[in-house]
Symmetry: C2
Subunit: 348 residues, 2 copies
């Protein structure tokens, strides 16, 4: 009622900002700022009468909450950093897509980070994004620097590790059993009667999940008593062109091969397209199987046999797990095996 309060701003305000604040809304609605805050964040804790007054003031003034201030006061922002190795690999993108969609629908924002497969970059990235007081974190893989693991374990907020499955996880885990996925394709090739089977990959020095699939592959072949360590790789990024090259290399080195197990569909697609060009018949001359389940596979000639992984769904599940914890719901289970599915098509 009185305005002769000694003007709380002893000095000029820091910033020329003239954004409307919660105080402005409170004044306009004739309530205390905290009531505005509650009307916005926990509407059922405010009488419908006041809530209406507040809502109106909010729209009439065009109030937009300062999430930074809210975050500082409540020690948490509705931000979820998502840390992946690379944005040039479709797999991660699709997972991020699932995460993003699920979180955005729940009112959270994704803060995107990429590490280029470098654990030290991962560490510093995580250190820095934790500075935003995020509600949780999603990161890729189960291998991290000790300091990262330590920091996240003592952090006290939900953490989900995605893509791969395995024992020691920081908090929660959604992924695929890579060795078994690799074994699955190897077994399929054996079942189809192939015996001279090679594994073809690229960038396997950094991509240890591909190495895990190769391991599964190798063990199955070894157990079957066939040559198990035929591996062709190159240290370039995965691409159609890379697939073509590794394919040609393998053919040149071992013309007797009867089946190829590619580390992913992109490589396999490059190989199939090249084989088409050269008139190599599949699976008669050589069979091809791979991993991922990209839609391109079903449009190639021959259609591609692959171990398909629900990547988008993996993102969705990871996000759901996080949300469960954030909303205080019973954390059903801290580990989800998202599974895979062998799709046998013409190429084998």
């Amino acid at each position: 009622m009185a305005k002769e309060k000694p003007s709380p701003r002893g000095r000029r305000r820091h910033h020329g900002d003239n954004r409307v604040t919660i105080d402005d809304v409170a004044k306009e609605a004739g309530v205390a700022p905290i009531t505005v805050s509650r009307a916005l964040n926990t509407p059922d804790k405010v009488s419908s009468k006041l809530r209406a007054r507040v809502d109106q003031a909010v729209t009439s003034l065009g109030y937009v909450p300062n999430l930074i201030a809210g975050g500082l006061a409540s020690a948490g922002t509705r931000v979820i950093p998502v840390v992946v190795p690379s944005l040039s690999i479709l797999t991660f993108i699709e997972v991020v897509h699932g995460i993003q969609q699920t979180l955005e629908d729940a009112g959270y924002q994704v803060l995107l980070g990429s590490t280029d497969f470098d654990l030290d970059r991962e560490t510093s990235l995580i250190d820095s994004v934790l500075g935003y007081s995020p509600s949780g974190v999603i990161l890729t893989g189960l291998k991290h620097n000790d300091s990262t693991v330590q920091r996240l374990k003592t952090w006290g907020r939900p953490v989900v590790e995605i893509m791969e499955l395995g024992l020691p996880c920081i908090d929660m885990n959604v992924g695929v059993d890579n060795p078994r996925a690799g074994a699955c394709m190897a077994q399929h090739l054996l079942d189809r009667g192939y015996r001279r089977i090679a594994f073809l990959g690229v960038g396997m020095a950094r991509d240890y999940r591909a190495r895990q699939r190769f391991e599964g592959h190798r063990e199955v072949l070894a157990a079957a008593g066939v040559e198990s360590d035929l591996l062709f790789t190159s240290e370039e990024p995965s691409s159609y062109a890379a697939g073509r090259r590794v394919f040609l290399e393998a053919l040149a080195a071992r013309p007797d091969l009867d089946a190829l197990h590619f580390a992913n569909d992109n490589l396999a697609a490059g190989a199939i397209l090249e084989a088409n060009r050269q008139g190599i018949r599949m699976p008669d001359d050589i069979a091809m199987g791979s991993y991922l389940g990209l839609s391109l596979g079903e449009h190639l000639s021959p259609t591609l046999t692959t171990v398909s992984v629900p990547r988008f769904e993996m993102g969705v599940e990871a996000a759901k797990l996080l949300l469960e914890r954030l909303e205080g719901r019973p954390p059903s289970q801290p580990r989800i095996d998202i599974g895979y599915r062998l799709i046998a098509r013409e190429s084998t």
Copy 2:
């Protein structure tokens, strides 16, 4: 020197958080908190002696700055929201990739948002992310709700609109001239001697940039005096399967067509793969051209003629423009035409 200050915390601290703060570092280093702040943010304003003491305290305590608090105090966070229509469309992903890489290298974080091509969602998304006091914003396209445009124009921080080029932009603009790109392919088809040319797209109700390309295409054909409004579309997301379907539909409706102009490479790839299956010869039976420049195009048989757009580079340039302004450098130019390149291959 004395510790009998009446303990600034009249009550318990809000949060059980035991994170180390700038005060802890200051105490450890025997300086004032502000000196720590300066040593970290503006190192040259602190004597090397104190700076060393601070740096050591920082590492020994494992101090990680609270970016939220810093953001509140300085009215700005090193966050850049990037708003795209969809994360399931490769084009946007590649642009985001370029943006992300460039910004992360400069110490900024990307906050990812997607609108599903809905301008109202865009508006509310932008309203909400502005609550994080970001340093700038990158958004897609030049069409937005008036309120969005208004808010961003008066916002006072750099804004970059990407993907398309045109006159009224909010602040800065990096993109492609879609009508000219469409015209370019149409002209190419004419030059090659084709005369019964159709445009095939999907989801063009929402994707007005594809409509713009069709417009450019139409005008060129009309000017050449050939049938110009042959358009086949369906309202489904872009995919290989969709390309196949629209292709078959067009063939069925107009068996006399001699060339197809696809709205993007994915559709064209789906069509080429289907044509391969059916023994349709390209370009003899029918020619195909499209837009994007995906690497898949050069591995198909026939290799695909396309208007290639440097998507990653577009992201890089958008980010650079933003950074220029953020770093107070002369804003070279507020609008960049990223260009396109006709890659004539076997399919035409």
